[in-house]
Symmetry: D3
Subunit: 244 residues, 6 copies
């Protein structure tokens, strides 16, 4: 895709990701711990192994992968109320953590995992748009490392992760499809779409919302093209991180 | 689209909607009250007008449209716990009511609505798959009627609804794209997608999830084609209901 | 009792019930499902069978009958907040569901029921006064049908319901005892009393409240007389519904 | 009424109250503070004056009287969970505090009270049956004293309490109507009824429940007779306390 | 310590406790029940024995002692909201009940207690400063009595309480260290410290806070001296109560 | 103090702090943002300025400083439940955040701050003992930077921080006083004490608890000596961080 001239607030070409960084082993207690950065968005993703499964799965010989998501109160431009103090998680929080969980379950052979659960905690240290896509991308690597630790300790014969998964946002900003929206772009775009895809190009999730005017089928096609390209680059970054 | 031979549990052809019924004026207190039926799925949608807006909009001269969603405990095959008794709404409930609200705001000129709020309550009396898509489709008509009541009482000069909106589910069942999944089909499909579109063919929301294997771009295209057709039929049913 | 001339807002004679309708099989998943109507008051009562009992009854060889009550947000003249969204049930809701549960347990042989629980969900679709009395009257039939389903499936040898139960409100409106108050009458009466009686004329519950001036013993006697007559008519309506 | 021979667990004649004690000024901060004892049941009732009313009454020139009820965790034979720790009040608690509030509002001229609220806190220090009837009987005196303090401080020209109110339980124990049930009697009776009456003999509340077999109209009449007598004795005890 | 001239609001010398009263057997259901008074502060402390332990201790052959704390809404100068109605315990409440529990566990041989739990409920009937120190001092005696009841019933061979424990507040009022602050003094002091000590002079807890200016090491020493003296007097009062 | 030979799990001499690191500007949105490390304990402290005060201070011309505390679920050795998901903050969390708030208010001239509030969020990224003392030490610098930003923007004429404050833990491990307990030492010590002191040596808070045997006055003196030394070193580290 050739980028047409466009003045994004970020100054990036329409099809350019922000700088991506994936740091493994960021904290020491978790079986997997990754700091993922999409530009100024920074999310700490930890993977915790528990040798039991939720009640609905007990005795079925299958494992489970789930996720929880949170934003530190001052990860945002102005301070947000702490959900633990308010006594409940917002609808947005629950929507995001359900999305992360589904995305990761799509790439794990849950039967091969056995009766254990892995919980991915994605906590946003600094937010600048795209926290859910960064979370999925980083949590995939934390999950990988936790699964490797099970192999290393002899609890699993092989890593039950089938392939990598990553996520990116696309949107229509000032009438033009753009990749990887930061906070300013996200607040001013007409359409916002999050796409989750696997290493082999399969679509796991697609969630598009017309914030302003509805979007057309051809705009959707352009957005999907951008997402496909962005996810290829993210998968490459994940592979590079795993190679270290 | 030509339907290939397929044995759906419902016995319907791949591109067939269930019987759709839209009954206006189902209850008497609400400004708009619609019973919508997609086969055995029955949802009561009421629209309530309130002459004030949420705090974040006060003094801006704009209105708001929001939604709440609930399932009666025994609308489902086995009884579900009552959310009021549990003391909180599930993540699923919140996700759905946020989706309904966004879908309806997309078709209303909120400035023309003025500083008032309309709340759509979508309560599922009987569930057989597709409760969120039925809710959006029915709530659109309840909202229409509530807006008409504002015109009739002279509070609004014209109905600020720009066009109709409807929603339908599509999915890949036994390897083949099908329209309007019922509960049994939904529980056994590989991919489940909800599409919200306007009368003029604009896409408002698209939410697709690979429950089993990821789906390909060509499968996505087929699903979008089915959804487009289904929504045209729903819009026709809405228009017919409004003509009564 | 001879009705003295009186101008009730409803135009009904002092001793007249509103039109009563009892529709069985209103929804399809529940073991018992009844739509009960007392004039404009419409309540959906479902009975759900569960093959276990609450902890305090485990191992005692006895069953349990319990009830939950709710009002759809726009069942009322102006919209009421959704209890699931507020995160708790009001005192009024809890009082009513406890009353319904006690009333129904009074007519069931809990030992004969065996270690299973039946939950009656009474959800008000449209409210115009008397929702708790309509709930008891309709839930009795839903419970009957659920018990019959246990007999039909061979789980019970005989229906453990000992007799029917029904409930009605009486009150002192403009100084005169009247039967079956609608919303307008209820809001303006001095005394409001709910009476629950069995088919054989036994009193199960009596709850009378002086909203304005205290009432005398002779007024109480007159109210009880009206209630006795009204309940006889409701029991007749229940029998007719069961005969269909 | 002549007492027929009967062996009550308490050893009392069927129509005998337990020893009643009403101690004013039990604690020092509240505008009214009464320890009321019905035998071993001991309830601390305090009345607190607040110079504002709940939102629904603002600007109407009327006052409000409300009540809250609680049991200390070990007021009971075995320890009950603390409601503050559980995070919610039980349905029973809410039912009782609503009853106390209604009973007291019935004897106060709320317009004469002016825009202020009086809250009665009824906290059970020791429970042996009849905590709600003792609460009403004691709270009436605490309320009286709080109203007197408003007169004494010149905020009110006259005490707006119209007359006294008291409450007692009656029940059918071993087939015979008895007055003022203690815990053991209450746990084993067939019918339990609470009656609230004013000094002048008006009925304010009547709440009767058949715990076992339904009760007949003649049993109801006998219970009402006993209650009438018991309340006369309680009113006399209240007057004596006020005379000190 | 010689008292220098000082005008405390209470008129007490700097090193004087308020009048202390410890009444055993204040209520009848609890295994231990003590009303403790430090001047106008009155706390009801009950000890309840339960023949099981919390999950984290099951099967370890050890017992547990825990505490809950509450203030009646009108124990205070102006009415405080009821925590059960607000739906949660304040941070202050939780801090106090954790302190009481730790203080009492320090003097009990939990292994000798066996797998049972004793819960101390400390409910403030009237507050005038020092409710947490009065609670610890009174709860120690209630706990003693509950343990004695286990010995009396043959469940324990010997009382597993190792020694007595008591608590007192000290503070710097108007520049001078004083003992046992009442509400007025506490509200106006610069430093407030609570000290928990055993009969043998060991320190169990020390919690000092500079409300205004930080305090020096020599001030701390003076406060500890006062506390040591006050606790000796409280232990003496406890022993006298046990001797009755 | 000369360190006697002792085998601490950490291998440190009894009076040695862990490596301390204070990184300013760790995240970009907050007015003050500090990552503080005490060995493996890492806490992110942000300071957020809000131009309003809590209700109890409105119109008094004074400011407020408050704190919230949280642990990321996998900051600990085994995963802890997320407080936002559980719907409430534990007693421990509330105790700690109240302590942090009091400690910081002690060093700020709240009148000079004017009617604005500064909230310190202390979120533990990795825990290894001493999270509350690290939080206070780091939050002091985040608060300093936020106050400087108010000076820089002309909202304050001078920084209202009177002096620095820091905190450290001390305890009795294997019979000997030691400084700055890590997780293993903390889990096995007999006495645990947290001390908060200012730059000028004033004591702000002292909280000591005998986990096992009570401690003596001479042990307390030794602990206070160690704390005094440790805090001097922390204040030096704070000054060095501010000098960068």
């Amino acid at each position: 895709m050739t980028d047409t001239p466009l003045s994004r607030p970020s100054g990036r070409p329409a099809s350019a990701l922000r700088a991506v960084a994936i740091t493994r082993g960021f904290t020491r207690h978790a079986e997997g711990s990754v700091l993922v950065e999409f530009g100024d968005t920074r999310v700490l993703c930890t993977a915790s192994v528990e040798e039991s499964v939720p009640p609905f799965l007990r005795g079925k010989g299958e494992g489970w992968v789930t996720a929880e998501y949170g934003m530190l109160p001052r990860s945002t431009h102005t301070r947000s109320a702490r959900e633990a103090a308010k006594g409940k998680q917002s609808g947005r929080t629950q929507e995001i953590q359900r999305l992360i969980g589904r995305s990761l379950r799509a790439i794990v052979d849950l039967k091969a995992l056995g009766e254990r659960q892995i919980t991915l905690d994605c906590d946003v240290l600094q937010a600048d748009g795209g926290t859910r896509t960064a979370s999925i991308t980083g949590a995939c690597i934390a999950l990988h490392d936790a699964l490797e630790s099970l192999v290393a300790s002899g609890k699993l014969a092989a890593n039950p992760m089938k392939e990598l998964v990553a996520a990116i946002s696309v949107g229509i900003y000032a009438g033009q499809p753009v990749l990887d929206l930061d906070y300013v772009e996200d607040s001013n775009c007409d359409t916002d779409m999050n796409v989750v895809m696997t290493e082999s190009g399969g679509i796991v999730e697609i969630q598009g919302t017309a914030e302003g005017a509805p979007f057309s089928r051809s705009e959707l096609d352009a957005l999907l093209g951008l997402a496909d390209q962005g996810i290829s680059e993210l998968i490459a970054a994940q592979k590079q991180a795993l190679a270290c």
